[in-house]
Amino acid sequence: MEEDLIGIKNTALSFILEAEDLDNLEETKLQFLGRSGKLTLALKEITKIPVEKRKEFGLLANEVKQTIEDAIENQKSKLKTQKLGRVVEKIDVTNPGIKPSLGHLHLVTQAIEEITSIFEKISFEKLRYPEVEWDWYAFEALNFPDNHPARDDWETFFIKGGVDPKKGPMLLTPHTSSGQIREMERKQKPPIRMLNIAKCYRRQSDVSHSPMFHQFEGLVIDKNIAITHLKGTLDYFVKSWFGEKRESRIRPYHFQFTEPSFEVDVSCGVCLGKGCKLCKAGWLEMGGAGMVHPNVLRAGGIDPNKYTGFAFGWGVERVLMMREGLKIDDLRILYSNNLEFLQQF
């Protein structure tokens, strides 16, 4: 009886290994394990075996059954792989893929989104203010004296026929700082944490100036805001935007609407501050910042004896070029809308 079982096992295994396709294999399976399969029938013979030997026989029978089942499973997966392989053979993996449509967002949009996300994480609120503004918001309330060169016809665009008796001439705002007074008026009372990213206009057009460009402006006003907070915010931005290895520093500078005023530098990405051909002794200028001038707070209806604040305003295009190291020889290509250019990014 035991020999019979071993014989069945061997026959089954050889059939299984010879099976050429899945149908063939299924047939073999039925032939041995089916209701009237050879193994099934053999097992029914157990009644003819003396009771004391039945246990031993049972164990062997199970082992045989298991072996056959395992062999069938193995062969099945082998055959499946073979079948798929025959199809796959027709694929040239180096042929191009079928791509879903993909356009391009403008570099400036990409930069604006990233800048927004960095500042929103430290609770800055993004807002929008007029691009066509009164002199009051762009200059007068920002402590610019009447004769300041920025108020000249050759630096700022003025709008024909627009003069308000109180707010002065209408113009295209030359900086996002005009949003400072707008925000103080809107909020009326600190705390203020404003982020203004907008189009600005200056009467200049050359390889490094476009008459339309973008700035991002931050304004924080609260009780006890100090220079150290401005430093912290700058460090946070510089490390988020340029990478953790980069450092920032502030140096004395001069602006009408801040006192003290600073120029902000970022350590050079090429030499990391050691000094090289591309930077000024290890540093690159990023833009201006400062503590909000008390006259500006007053103009916005905020008591400078109770509140202090800081502000910064930098060029979106500038920080973008600085980070990417894009060797763009004429900034105006950003607004030329040459598709060959736009579709690179």
Partner: protein
Amino acid sequence: MNIKILDSWLREYVKTKATPEKIGELLSLSSVSVERIEKFGNDFTYDIEVTTNRPDLMSVIGIARETTTVLKQNGIEAEFLPPKLTQLQTPKKDLIKIENDPKLVNRLCAAVMEVEIGDSPKEIKDRLESSGTRSLNNLIDVTNYVMKTIGHPTHVFDFDRLNTQVLTIREAKKGEIIKTLDEKTYTLNGGEIVAVNDKDEIIDLLGIMGLKNSVVTEKTKRILFFINNNEPNKIRKASMSLGIRTEAAVVNEKNLDRELAFDALLYGIQLYKQIAKGEVISDIIDIYPNKLREKNIEVSLEKINKIIGAEIDPEKALESLSALGFKATIGNGKIKVKVPSFRIGDVEIEEDVIEEIARIYGYQNLPSVLPIQTQIIPHQFANEFYFENKIKQAMKYWGFTETYTYSMVSEELLEGPLAEAVEIDNPLNEEFVYMRKTLVPSLLKVVSDNKSDETIKIFEIANIYNKRPNSLPEEILSFAGVIKKEKISFYEAKGIIEQLCFDSGIKKLSFRQSEKAGNGASIYINKDYLGEIEILDTHLIDFELNFALLLKNASIKKEYKPLGKFPPIVEDLSITVDTNIKTEELITCIQSQSALITDVTLKDSYRDSRTFHIYYKDPEKNLTNEDVSKIREKIITSLQKQFKASVR
């Protein structure tokens, strides 16, 4: 504005062992930006950027004072050595009279000297040349050298060529003609400050440039050495409108220290004596109508620490201020300063004094701290920027390229009457004159500028500007796109707008036959006009939407409809109907026949036949074919009655 000075020149006024690199580094951190240090023979030049509020630093003395202060603060030994200027004994002789106009000139200092013209010594030549000024002869060189050292421009006339008893300062009249010493002729606009001789001939354009008719020549024997401190705005206006941007003009248009004018005179006379065998032969003239008023400022120690954000040692602060030329004292928890004359135009309020203390302390020595939020301010994340970004992303993944075109356009690109456009008074050129009222023309220009591309899909989101009387223009965010493609379908453009609105939670979107001339559709949200799709050609379609209106209606509000327990029955119904009848009307008719019809869409249309895909669903039970056929009969009857449609 930049000043270039030689290291050896600077060290004439600062005694220190600090290296040029160290001096450059510390000046940049606490004073002026040293942009470059370059080798010059055995010496070095510093190229320094000076901000417009600090004309006092457009001089070697000014930089020397700052250098000494910052070196000392950083523990490096340094001593400031100001020039020794001695008062002069001069002959009591009145060789020329000057008639000043105090509205034009704040102070005038002058002296007549006998001199010998010749070359300057090598040291002076080197110092001038390395600072970017050409050395001409000793008489001219002295004027430039004094300006660079002291920080006040000076001028020299050939005294005999002036040939006048009186020199009068007045405003130029419009149309007067002058010839500058570089032989260029200018017609004056009126308002420039000029000096005239007793024949009323202009012999100087004050503060800007000398004139051909009074300049020193090789034959000069006697000079009038002349220092004028002018009304800065007049200088800027004249210099900009004539286009003469000399170094003197750039400095003179800032608020220059009037006290320096006399120092410049004394120092110049000293130099003429040394290098041009100069001898003063007249009285010293010093006309000083507009004297400076003393300025004192008090600031509390508490405020200093509060704004800087760190504890500052008051004694150290006092030391810094004194080194910078302030007379500073401390008492009652306050620092009191008297502002030096050379800083009067610049230091006005407490914050200015705090800046001086903080920068010399060193911003690099302050900690960096993020400001804490003192109030709970909820973050409005689903704001207009959220939807703007979402829509831009969608456009990108649907294959559109985003453009940024200029807000200002030419007359050609402006749509609508010129009088209704916001117009720039001082445009840079004719390309940028009007603020645009629509984006599409700018986008169409991009299409025509990129001729070689056969398929173009572009979009832009930007403001348009509508003029309003006595008020700022209305700025409306607008969203426009253009598709250029062979056999472009109207439905492609419509589909984009439908999906964008759907994704932004906008319901009640409707399209009507365009009310404007041309082919296309007018689009509405409820009753508000959203915008337009325009078919320009078989290969060109554009659209422009009032994006602000879209944003106003956008929402992230979610709604839940219970899932159906019973499956729907879906069937197609094909009809033949007049092509003038709108699909929307047919769908509305079908839908109104039974509450069990949950959805109707147009599946196909060809000539006068249209196939509708209809969903029937009952939330309470399984629908039978019988139920559906009753409704179908109703639909067919209604379509026949209302639209004369017949089932195919």
